[in-house]
């Protein structure tokens, strides 16, 4: 029983991480139609900014700084690199792939290729007892952050005008322009939000993994893409569901099966969902 609780908590922690990365990826693709392979770079920006700032300012302010840095990087990438290429999807993919490679190389050049130990606040090392299982607090930290982000994002999309424009733009962005709305401003906003969320994933993921390394973003990004496809492009709720499914499947199969079998199962899950529902679990058939 306690093993199951522990695996569930760890799986949900991982799911939280996937959700934070995938939510931005999904909105960026849904609204702007950009497959952003540089999204992992936003995560690294958040992780390294937090890692750098934590010894000076303490953990809380450092996380805020990391999120702000990642959001700024996201907005900057959209304004400088993506914006001139909106009618050229192939070049867009090339530029984001190139940027992700260059970003990893830049991080390696400055801080080295080896993982750096991450500053973990004392309270995240505490162990809580839940249903007879001893749970590390950092799992719950990630889960709590993801739930808050999910609720906040849902409220933002539902109750604000920016959110309304984003929801409409995901459905039909040409029509949003035809109503007199500068939809590209929303593109920048969505990149900034996506960057900030990925930055938060980086900041808190460092606590989860215990270290920060240049390649972390890229390896998380692969699973985040799978989560986005399973969840349905542009759907935050679908992304959250898919993240939970992928996180739990991966943890349980990796524990009970041979190592690595969980990753294969995730890909199998992707294939099954795509066969049964080509637009993802929340996708509209007409989308």
């Amino acid at each position: 029983m306690s093993t199951i609780v522990l695996l569930t908590a760890t799986g949900l922690g991982l799911a939280a991480l996937y959700f934070l990365v995938a939510a931005g990826l999904s909105l960026v693709f849904g609204l702007a139609g950009v497959l952003n392979f540089a999204h992992g770079l936003f995560l690294s920006a958040g992780a390294y900014a937090t890692w750098w700032a934590a010894p000076h300012w303490g953990f809380g302010p450092a996380v805020a700084f990391g999120v702000a840095c990642a959001a700024a990087v996201g907005a900057l990438v959209e304004l400088v690199l993506i914006r001139p290429l909106y009618r050229r999807p192939t070049e867009q993919v090339l530029v984001t792939v190139g940027l992700s490679l260059a970003g990893v190389a830049l991080l390696q050049a400055v801080w080295g290729a080896d993982p750096r130990p991450y500053p973990r606040p004392q309270w995240t090392k505490q162990v809580l007892t839940v249903l007879g299982a001893r749970l590390p607090a950092d799992r719950l930290l990630l889960l709590g952050a993801a739930v808050v982000v999910l609720a906040g994002l849902a409220a933002f999309l539902r109750f604000t005008r920016h959110g309304l424009v984003i929801r409409a733009g995901v459905e039909n962005r040409a029509m949003v322009s035809a109503l007199g709305i500068d939809v590209r401003r929303s593109f920048t906003l969505v990149f900034a939000i996506g960057g900030g969320l990925a930055g938060l994933a980086g900041s808190l993921g460092g606590v989860y993994f215990g270290s920060v390394s240049p390649g972390q973003g890229a390896s998380l990004l692969i699973f985040a893409f799978i989560v986005v496809v399973i969840g349905g492009m542009g759907s935050v709720a679908g992304t959250a569901l898919a993240a939970v499914a992928v996180g739990l499947v991966q943890q349980f199969v990796n524990y009970y099966g041979t190592g690595g079998a969980g990753d294969v199962c995730v890909v199998a899950l992707l294939a099954i969902v795509l066969l049964a529902r080509p637009h993802g679990i929340s996708g509209r058939v007409t989308a």
């Binding site: 309304l164 424009v165 459905e171 709305i181």
Partner: protein, 262 residues
Amino acid sequence: MLEGPSLLEVRDLSVRLGGSHILQGVSFEVPLTGVTALLGRNGVGKTTTLRAILGEIPATGAVTFDGEPILGRPTYRLVRSGLGYVPEDRGVFAGLTVAENLRLAERRASREHGADPDYDTVFMLFPELRERAAQRAGTLSGGQQQMVALARVLLNPNRLLLVDEPTKGLAPAVVSAVTAALSRVAQRVPILLVEQNLAVVRRLAGTAVVLSAGRVAWHGPAADLLGSADQTRALLGVGTTATTTTATTTTATTPPAAPRSA
């Protein structure tokens, strides 16, 4: 060809899409009042003309709106300057509620100039939308969706409306309702209307522009065009006996103006 000042002037508009030369120098004017019908067989480039005017697809030539050159301007700026667009597929956001569809269309510019979104007009013309405000637009009937699409452009002060096939795919009774609404709208703001249903054109349009093979084949008072059986047949490929005997009661699936060449 036409007397008097014009609101919209299209000069030598050309569009190439995917290697085919869809518009090959289209020129016409839209007068300051009333409905101007843009006619022609299927695939002749009527929708393309509207989208090129709006800047949704790249085009060459010149378009002036109220004396200002507008070709190449971003769509959202043009729309904000008073060009309302109701696209062919209605462009209603299926996942949003009716109220959200309307709220999205409220223009900040008009609010800043002290003009509140004109919900009074919208609900006077389409009282049904008030009752269905909380309903998802995707669950509305085709006619109701057309009302949402028209309501969105009526919320803001516009100087010209571009309306693309508003009666397409609608049941006959709904075609009449939409036509009646359009005729009331046209008393307030001029409309450039793409329409295949000649009975609707006959009821609404003062001016007609006929496209053929990427060019303007005919331009003049609508009554002159529709009054001549030979001309209607030659330009639009429809027998006038069919169009004169069928009023707005023709079935929606086969509108009287459906070209035989389709």
